[in-house]
Symmetry: C2
């Protein structure tokens, strides 16, 4: 079964891992690039790398991000040189950025670089940046517009977010690889990532949402998994963001965001009472355990999502 | 006493260290940039860094280059990604390159970046790149023209060198900082570095040799220390290079190269018999122990060189 997953950071990586365990090379992950940044002249792709390291089995599950067995020699030495960075790069992680930046400077497209990186890391699934052009997520707070990582890492997601924009999205376009993956997909999954700053940037890439809608019209199921459980984000500020943007911080709120796009919705047992509300939006709903506590839970949830989407397909 | 030192790699760093122990902040080191290279998009300045690390007391005296307590995590991981490099950068060293490249990209001149780096490393002497424009040393071998590091590191200095050139030198010019240091110098020292690929590139920067000659005419002593002892280079391929370029691989051969520029020459006791030959070139000659085996030997030699140059100054 050819599966396409739209994914952001950690939630996306866990979902990707579960799906890879189920369909392996038939999985294509389209990752958010809105969080990407340049640091020390290096191209840093946080969401991409979280997915790539997880699929390569190199992720640090205890810390929840970055590479296992990481060390911090370069950053420590940079600090000794007076360079205090709030975005710290591990030594092993740094090798990825050096490797990638070299290739980007040589003129390869981000998509080509991502495909080669997955290959040298032994990842059999495909990981595609949502676009080759730079798109940068920015949030408006009481202190004005902030770059995403400034808000997310430096300010610990503390400022209230009043507005979100994806700078550069208008000039981006869906890549041939992304369009081909969607065209060939038999199921499309939206990961339980932050709908506002992980999934929305992907959908903002011109051509991408239309391709998804075309797939849906062909009868391809599009299933979203809620990252809001019991009104709270499992990780990150999605719940507070939904609230401060005037939306509803609940599984129904997430489903509502995807109305017109998804055919299927997967929510946690905790939110079972909301299932009728989601169904009333014309969306098939599955209630199950959605917290991916370990590898087995990831694979089980992925399998359930795929069976649910395949069994009850909803062509228009 | 305001001292200017022309220096290449390890020999230059040891001489700089001895002089810094004697005159401290009154020392300005003009370093060869012909060995510089770009790697992974980073600006690597091997000769500069050898001098800077040594003056900062951070050099690895056992290995003879790089930083003490170095680790190789980033390079090992790059190799795991299939990137096999013959020019390996240590983790701590890498921090220097990231720090520097960032500033160069921000538009600072190499001279400004070098001055700031020395300052954050706690080095009180000034270390100046010979020029702000890129100059690249290349050697012609049986395999054609090779970039310096390709010859030096990758091919272990094995190919015979038939010719040397300094690409970009014609478009470079002596910096205001270099010219000011020479104009203010009370003594100028040429380190026992490789005369062909460490000192010659410095002298090839338009305006630099003329500034030295002007200083000499003002009565400023210019003293060179021989890096060839008993016909052999203490380190590196200088002896073989002199021979294959049709020159004489001896202290006299080194002195002859600097004829018309230097007023003083310092050679090892082993070569004492050659002193009259050097003196016959119109150069004051000091015979002493020149091998800088430890900090004390560095400081002693530096002191001797300065006393020698100051005592017998030779205005024209």
């Amino acid at each position: 079964m050819r599966v396409v997953l739209l994914a952001g950071g950690v939630g996306g990586a866990k979902m990707a891992d579960g799906l890879a365990a189920t369909v392996g090379p038939d999985l294509t992950v389209i990752v958010n690039t809105g969080d990407d940044l340049e640091l020390h002249g290096l191209s840093i792709w946080p969401d991409h790398d979280t997915v790539a390291y997880t699929l390569a089995g190199l992720d640090d599950e205890v810390r929840g991000w970055g590479l296992r067995g990481e060390s911090w020699t370069v950053m420590d030495r940079l600090e000794a040189l007076g360079e205090v960075e709030w975005f710290r790069l591990g030594d092993r992680d740094l090798a990825t950025h050096l490797w990638r930046t070299d290739r980007l400077r040589a003129g390869y497209r981000p998509t080509e670089v991502a495909l080669e990186l997955a290959s040298v890391m032994g990842v059999t699934s495909r990981i595609l940046p949502m676009a080759d052009e730079p798109v940068r997520t920015e949030v408006r707070t009481g202190d004005g517009w902030l770059e995403f990582q400034e808000y997310f890492v430096h300010r610990h997601q503390e400022p209230t977010v009043h507005e979100v924009r994806f700078r550069g999205a208008d000039d981006a376009r869906a890549t041939p690889e992304v369009l081909a993956a969607i065209a060939a997909a038999e199921a499309i999954v939206i990961a339980p990532s932050n709908p506002i700053v992980s999934i929305d940037p992907i959908l903002a890439v011109p051509g991408l949402r239309a391709a998804l809608q075309e797939a849906r019209q062909r009868g391809v199921p599009i299933a979203a998994v809620s990252g809001i459980i019991g009104g709270k984000a499992l990780k990150g500020p999605a719940d507070r963001m939904l609230a401060s943007l005037g939306e509803v911080a609940s599984a129904v709120g997430v489903a509502a965001r995807y109305t017109g796009l998804i055919t299927h919705f997967v929510m946690d047992r905790i939110d079972a009472a909301m299932a009728p509300s989601v169904e009333s939006l014309g969306i098939e709903t599955l209630v199950t355990d959605t917290i991916m506590t370990d590898d087995a839970a990831r694979a089980r949830l992925a399998g359930e999502v795929l069976r649910f989407a395949a069994a009850v397909s909803a062509p228009e």
